[in-house]
């Protein structure tokens, strides 16, 4: 399975959040962005690594559409963004970086998504439109109080 991934990451295992599993970017998807000169998409692979490998704020199951209930969304809050491979900018305010993963661990998309104020306050910083089952989320200080 992993041989078709051109880059592999270690992420929280949805089946056992105390453990990790391997996820990866398929070569065909990387080549699409590469051949068409989409530097922003490639530069943001740094953010994919950040969110999956230590920067996960929450992990949800389901892409909120029929047939994709067994897929996953990881999101986090990197402090920066990439306009290209070399131009780093501050992260957009009020947004989470989402990594969309298929049920076999294949990464299918990565993108910034707004987090509305009400969700920031009440729903664990859930990005807009990400409504799947919460599997894991980073503990907040308020969780312990």
């Amino acid at each position: 399975m992993q041989t078709r991934w051109i880059l592999t990451f270690t992420a929280i295992n949805p089946a056992n959040p105390g453990d990790v599993w391997q996820v990866g970017i398929p070569e065909w998807l990387y080549r699409q962005h590469q051949r068409k000169g989409n530097e922003k998409a490639l530069g943001r692979i740094f953010l994919v690594g950040d969110v999956l490998q230590g920067g996960t704020a929450a992990l949800r199951k389901g892409w909120s559409r029929p047939g994709k209930d067994d897929c996953y969304v990881y999101h986090g809050f990197p402090k920066y963004d990439y306009k290209s491979l070399t131009i780093q900018t501050p992260a957009p305010k009020g947004m989470a970086f989402c990594v969309f993963v298929l049920n076999d661990g294949t990464i299918d998309e990565w993108a910034w998504r707004p987090v509305s104020e009400i969700q920031q306050e009440h729903e664990g910083d859930r990005p807009d439109g990400i409504t799947g089952e919460l599997i894991w989320r980073q503990k907040k200080k308020s969780d312990n109080s």
Partner: protein, 129 residues
Amino acid sequence: MATEEEIRQFLSDNPPATEFAPYCYVSEAADALTVHFKQDADYSEKLNDHITVYRSLETNEIVGCRVKGISGILQDLHNYIMVRDKKGNIELALIFLAFRGGAEENVARTMNDLAREAAERNISLEMSA
């Protein structure tokens, strides 16, 4: 596990083409069509269950989109329209028509914007992909 340094090295060894060109592709596993008109730094906005648009962080204009549940549309499309060329490619603008009818006003407006962007850039979906 890819470290930041490994990612940096990988990107250096596999650099992007020097000029950006608009493009689209279908992910069969995700059953989704993704379109990039421009390469502005962007964010995604879920419009409805089928359409997510990518908007420029700077100007908020549409710079791409993701159409979900695309396989059924592609299967049925030839019943309604002519394909574009001998290769069987489909003009991307036509795909948005499938979501135009009966849509709420803001969705219909966005579909028009997406179709216009696709037509202006003459983007086709390669059916052999």
